[in-house]
């Protein structure tokens, strides 16, 4: 049963107060700091109508890159995090140590430091070792177009992968802990019952423990997804043309500091809020099911 939302006088007062606060802020910036607002020019950085066709402006391109980056980072981090999480609860000391060292190492480093380490040292050497660069450049135009659609333009690909790798490494460490906590939260009796049924350890995990654990950790996991979107701003320091970087570039060319930061804020909020609403729906659906 849901209570119907009613609009009360108090709501009206609150809305008026909030609008007044915003107007006050805009006025202060405009009058006292003598900032000249130039909102009309902002539109062309989102959508351009050059030559009759619509095209994404530089901020919109950055937004798309952020979406791609967050999507792949979440997908890969979930995969790596699940594997590492399973290793964390493994019977083998070796696996436990590998996953444990990974989590402790990554979680105890600032993400900014991690970005630089991956970009300058690890990413570069590994990409060179794999001969990625030459491979991408010699690929057929169709493959290049596909790569461009899925990740980034061939020229920016190695940077994109370095950024992606950092995000995956960083987020997966948290997902590892979420998965571990999920598995460990399942009562010992479930393991014992599964064992008594003659299931192997892998079967116990796959058929009994993981389905229950997944349901418990889903809200936390979804929160981590939203975190990934927010954390993706950090790769702007290695010049990946995502939203923050594009905004910074635009600011140094146009000096429209406030307009651009406000637009960036709105775009990030749009993205995370949509995801957040989707997650709430999902949680609701999961609850009614159980």
């Amino acid at each position: 049963m849901k209570n119907k939302i009613r609009f009360t006088p108090l709501d009206a007062v609150l809305i008026v107060l909030m609008l007044a606060a915003v107007l006050f802020l805009v006025r202060r910036i405009g009058v006292e700091m003598n900032y000249r607002w130039q909102w009309p020019v902002m539109l062309q950085y989102l959508v351009r109508t050059g030559g009759g066709a619509w095209a994404a402006g530089s901020l919109a391109q950055g937004f798309l890159t952020t979406v791609k980056l967050s999507f792949w980072a979440t997908a890969l981090a979930t995969l790596l995090g699940t594997i590492m999480g399973l290793m964390r609860v493994s019977h083998s000391l070796f696996y436990r140590l590998v996953a444990g060292s990974y989590v402790e190492l990554v979680r105890n480093l600032p993400p900014l430091v991690l970005v630089f380490i991956v970009y300058f040292f690890i990413g570069d050497r590994i990409m060179a070792l794999l001969g990625m660069e030459a491979l991408i450049r010699s690929a057929s135009p169709e493959t290049q177009a596909a790569l461009n659609f899925l990740f980034a333009s061939p020229a920016r690909l190695s940077g994109f992968f370095a950024g992606l790798a950092t995000l995956v490494l960083y987020e997966a460490a948290y997902i590892t802990e979420i998965v571990r906590a999920g598995i460990q939260s399942i009562e010992q009796g479930q393991w014992e019952a599964a064992h008594a049924l003659g299931l192997s350890r892998w079967q116990q995990l796959r058929c009994v423990i993981l389905p229950q654990a997944l349901q418990r950790v889903l809200p936390t996991l979804a929160g981590q997804l939203i975190s990934t979107i927010k954390d993706s701003a950090i790769v702007s320091v290695i010049s990946i043309p995502e939203l923050t970087f594009q905004g910074l570039e635009l600011m140094s060319a146009t000096y429209l500091t406030f307009e651009i930061w406000i637009t960036i804020t709105a775009l990030y909020f749009l993205l995370t809020f949509t995801v957040s609403m989707g997650v709430r729906r999902l949680e609701g659906a999961m609850q009614t099911k159980s």
């Binding site: 450049r137 910074l248 146009t254």
Partner: protein, 275 residues
């Protein structure tokens, strides 16, 4: 189970050994056959490291790069017979990025400085720039020479890692220096009246003074330093350096550099590309 561990250990060691071997071979100085120029021709693209500096290099409305440096880089690539690829990079990290091979060359208005030259090789200068100051009308009222700014209660803003920051430190050691990641932030700080002045390469201060006539002014009529600007490439590559030096001599003799410089620095025709 035990065997698995041994296999994993062997794989890890192999990867490490491969990395070390690669590193060791990468250290040898390039021969003519492996010079940057040869690699660029083989690849078919010249990867140019740059950073947004108005009007040297910036993105236009459609996200394409335009500017003086972009013209120079595009013509250079055309004459090598390859395509250009611009890799915008934060100025503070541009030299490490060149050294780790993120791009082949820095064409970004980089001033030739001894401490930079210890890490990279520079071509002969293809351009000269000077440092200039733009100041706040109220805060710096009556300031007319460098010495006016060289006081403990004055704060100056500049962009991190630029020669502007170095010049501010050298000429105004007593003033408080505040560093920002790009000029737009420094200018914003000045417009808000939190610093007295911004030091930057000409003509940016003059442009800003014109754009914000009610608040900013130019205290000095002329630039207070003169700096040579060159291309930067990785060290020990005399083949590429020889090509670049002679390319600069040719385009300079043609008068092309002067003409381009006039377009970007002497006129404001390009402004419609940006806004």
């Amino acid at each position: 189970m035990r065997r698995n561990h041994i296999v994993i250990a062997i794989m890890m060691i192999t990867v490490l050994v491969l990395l070390v071997v690669r590193e060791a071979t990468a250290q040898t100085a390039p021969l003519a056959g492996e010079s940057m120029l040869e690699q660029v021709m083989k690849r078919g693209t010249l990867r140019v490291g740059m950073s947004t500096f108005v009007p040297w290099a910036m993105q236009d409305k459609s996200g394409n790069f335009v500017g003086f440096e972009i013209d120079v880089a595009s013509r250079l690539a055309k004459e090598i017979g390859v395509k250009t690829e611009f890799i915008p990079t934060k100025w503070s990290g541009i030299i490490p990025a060149l050294l780790t091979g993120k791009f082949d060359i820095i064409i970004g208005g980089m001033g030739i400085r001894p401490e930079r030259n210890l890490k990279v090789n520079f071509s002969i200068p293809y351009d000269h720039t000077g440092m200039s100051i733009v100041a706040h009308k109220k805060l710096a009222a009556g300031f007319k020479k460098i010495a006016d700014f060289n006081r403990a209660n004055v704060s100056i803003a500049a962009r991190t890692g630029t020669t502007a920051a170095a010049a501010a430190q050298q000429w105004m050691p007593k003033a408080k220096l505040r560093l920002f990641d790009d000029e737009s932030q420094a200018i914003q700080e000045l417009l808000l009246g939190r610093v007295h002045a911004v030091v930057a390469s000409a003509p940016l201060p003059a442009f800003q003074a014109i754009a914000n006539q009610d608040k900013l002014f130019l205290p000095l009529q002329e630039d207070f330093t003169r700096e040579p600007i060159g291309f930067a490439i990785r060290k020990g590559d005399s083949d590429s350096l020889n090509f670049l030096d002679n390319w600069i001599r040719v385009v300079e003799a043609e008068g092309w550099l002067k003409e381009r410089k006039h377009y970007w620095f002497g006129t404001k025709e390009w402004e419609k590309l940006i806004k």
